[in-house]
Symmetry: C2
Subunit: 491 residues, 2 copies
């Protein structure tokens, strides 16, 4: 029998974990808080990487690579940055092991203590801006548009596969500009790239906005973000883009000669998405049967399962399957033919549902006679019979339809779970009963935000950039407010 | 004026370093022994990665990702492995920083000491085999063919950009097999993939063989390698593939149920190439004018430089250049049009020579009249005039010719610098005067190998797998030998 998941209704958190592990996406490693990304999960991440990388390059960015380690002294140069990250840093203090004195195993060699400790990068602003100092002299050296694909480490105490791990994979863009305006434009451009990626590829609608001061990146003047709504009504921050002002340029003394011949500090942005997107992808669409993958990110888009009794039947089906595979591959559709003898068709059906393969074809002797195939859609769990004539064309169209349907379903869910609320009791009840995005008035103060968080566990996920002017009263303090912000409980 | 390199003849080592830095490939970072790979250097590495990744997938491998950190206790489980790596490990001992007691900067928080120290992976056999224990139960789970793209850290005392750095980027394949034969087959298959890649893409001829016991990977029963000859007569190990026997399976107790229903230890291989290949690429082909890139790895294959006096001329040339670019892009040729006004054509010529761009086109007003273009080849530094008719076809052919020529030149160099030597005095003289690969007889003992290394700094680079049977006497001890091995000084 195939692997069974805990149902969403029974225990959402356990459902998520079961799914990640049983669909072979990732698992916990022997190292506290660090995950192993398994081949199937990694192949989805590779597809995300390839598309994002393309989008970064199309917007003029180049990749580079900076050191994993950051000298401790660099780290403390930008005051709010170090405050934000110091409490969760892996620190390298020694560079050698030796045989233990008691003859058992090995131990850290006390003679190999580093003069200055090295922090394993939790993010690379400091090491990168210390490098940019040598790269930037004049306005001709700007803008500098660089991205890095890398691993980073943040020593989280409570971890969950993909969503919050001590080590994770990400990309971090770090750009340098001659003017404030240009840096803000870049910050906004990249959050829009993320939104486009989330919607077009993850099939996940997102809201774009800026963070309140409390939730801002440590060292940023403004943090833009995209937020998506998961099926349990909690929000998930899926990407951020920071306008860093001149904070890092000042910390690392990075100046340039402007066109007027004057020295000025450089303006900075940074932006990143991570393997957390895997968590978003999983939670946005999947069901009690397993993963539901949008076709654009599915490593296998179509799987073919033969239904046969005799070896002769299998041979005939295999001939047909090979024909179909050839046609599909020519259209760039990734297809797998599972003719393994170890498992029965029913087991395979369940397995590919678990793995989220968008389309499953089943071919039996009768299909050969009728020139048809049974087509099962993962997103709707419906089956239909299709003609084998132009099957490649039909499936290409169907894949596009599935991609769209998954998006629309998620959009509908989000719309149905977005509320305008003006009463604090109702606000609390909504959070407890249904979750969702709550559009509410806020008086703009840190104090109110913190009180609400304390009392309800909800935070301001974002302040929409295009929110309409609307007079109202803060849901908590009753003070005047002129636009609604988005509250939610979140991952 | 463009940047000038130290010449190879004057100081080879300085030439190499100048080239890496001035061609914008990489530079030293503020972190001892760690480099920054700059965008131009990284774009070459990306091309290498893309091709290797394709070859790994074509041979049935999938990518995955394992933790950066390895618990110290895992590390000591395979005795010879820990001996090989313990002396150069970065060790994480703490997971938090705090504000310093004196109010200045930050310090390691002594309360955040890890119970067990974590080693930053120098290679991942131990963490991966501890994971495989859960993935492998039966022969049906085998073979397991996995690759990882990752950063690793080995605390080297003397570092050189790309060739030997504390942190470097690489890929490491880790496969698991049911039989000894299959594992050996995999080991050999992957060294051949590396050789094919080196020859077809880096245009760098390599010798394939196995290492002597002294030079074997820590934990391997057999290490296969490819070795290339650099222009200063020193060898550079460019890739290794290890047959690990059952060593790691035993260390981590990884057994499988074979077809006969018996428990057996699993057989293992591992194989890797790294950013060191960048060093090999640079040293194998470049000259005193800069980099010479094989077209297949060149981020820019063709550069177009306009030669004009008036703005009107520039307009006309730009129209033509755009036409050519469009044609070249359709053939998948990467092309850059440098119409920047900051620099004169002569400066640009030198700059693109430094950067190793295989073909440079110069277009002036007379070319427009004659429907021609001046074509300069980076590999031969020769110029010719070509018709603009079918220029895309002509350049595609020329790129292939350049790729081949660069390989042939390197092959000729290697052949001219490979010697059969039977006399120890001559052996030493050859190493001092000319370097190169020396094919000599060796009695097969560790002692002789070490003596030769002590006296000449030459090591056995490899024992050719296909060396013909030849009776002879060890060049050092005079004892009988039946085949020649390859000696050289090396990087």
């Amino acid at each position: 029998m195939a692997k069974v998941l805990t149902s969403r209704e029974e225990n959402y958190s356990q459902w998520y974990n079961d799914l990640v592990v049983k669909a072979d996406l990732a698992e916990n490693s022997a190292v506290r808080g660090c995950m192993v990304i398994k081949p199937y999960g990694y192949s989805i991440w590779e597809k995300m990487q390839a598309q994002l990388d393309k989008m970064f390059k199309e917007t003029g960015h180049s990749n580079a690579y900076f050191p994993l380690f950051i000298p401790k002294s660099f780290f403390s140069k930008e005051a709010s940055h170090v405050d934000g990250f110091a409490k969760e840093c892996a620190v390298v203090t020694h560079y050698r092991l030796r045989n233990a004195a008691n003859g058992k195993g090995i131990e850290v060699d006390p003679d190999a203590k580093l003069e200055e400790e090295l922090v394993v990068r939790p993010t690379s602003e400091t090491i990168i801006w210390s490098t940019y100092k040598n790269w930037i002299q004049s306005y001709r050296d700007l803008p500098l548009l660089i991205n890095q694909w890398a691993n980073v480490v943040r020593w989280e105490m409570r971890t969950r596969l993909f969503l919050r791990t001590a080590e994770f994979l990400w990309q971090e863009g770090h750009t340098a500009h001659a003017t404030r305006e240009e840096a803000i434009e870049e910050t906004e451009k990249m959050i829009k790239v993320y939104a486009e990626f989330a919607e077009d590829f993850l099939a996940m609608p997102v809201k774009i906005g800026v963070k309140s001061e409390n939730e801002r990146f440590a060292g940023a003047l403004e943090t833009y973000c995209i937020e998506a709504l998961m099926q349990d009504g909690k929000a998930l921050q899926s990407g951020t883009s920071h306008f860093l002002g001149q904070n890092f340029a000042k910390a690392f003394d990075v100046k340039f000669l402007n066109k007027e011949g004057k020295q000025e500090y450089v303006w900075a942005t940074s932006w990143g998405v991570s393997t957390r997107l895997m968590g978003a992808l999983i939670m946005a669409h999947s069901d009690n049967n397993g993963l539901v993958l949008p076709p654009k990110l599915a490593p296998i888009q179509v799987v073919i399962v033969p239904i046969h009794k005799s070896a002769e039947q299998l041979n005939q089906i295999s001939d047909k399957a090979n024909e179909i595979m050839k046609q599909l591959k020519q259209r760039g559709i990734s297809v797998k033919y599972d003719n393994s003898e170890n498992q029965k068709p029913g087991w395979k059906f369940a397995e590919y549902e678990l793995k989220g393969v968008p389309i499953r074809l089943a071919i039996g002797p009768r299909d050969l006679e009728n020139n048809t195939v049974e087509v099962a859609r993962r997103d709707t769990l419906t089956k239909s019979v299709m003609s084998l004539d132009n099957i490649d064309q039909s499936l290409e169209t169907l894949l596009a339809e599935i991609q769209e349907n998954i998006y629309n379903k998620a959009l509908k869910f989000r719309d149905e779970n977005t509320y305008q609320i003006d009463d604090y009791q109702e606000f609390k009840k909504c959070l407890d009963d249904r979750g969702g995005f709550i559009l509410a008035h806020w008086d703009g103060t840190k104090e109110t935000e913190e009180k609400i968080k304390e009392e309800t566990k909800a935070t301001i996920r974002l302040i929409p950039i295009d929110a309409p002017y609307e007079e109202g009263k803060c849901i908590y303090s009753g003070k005047p407010s002129y636009k609604r912000v988005v509250f939610a409980r979140s991952y």
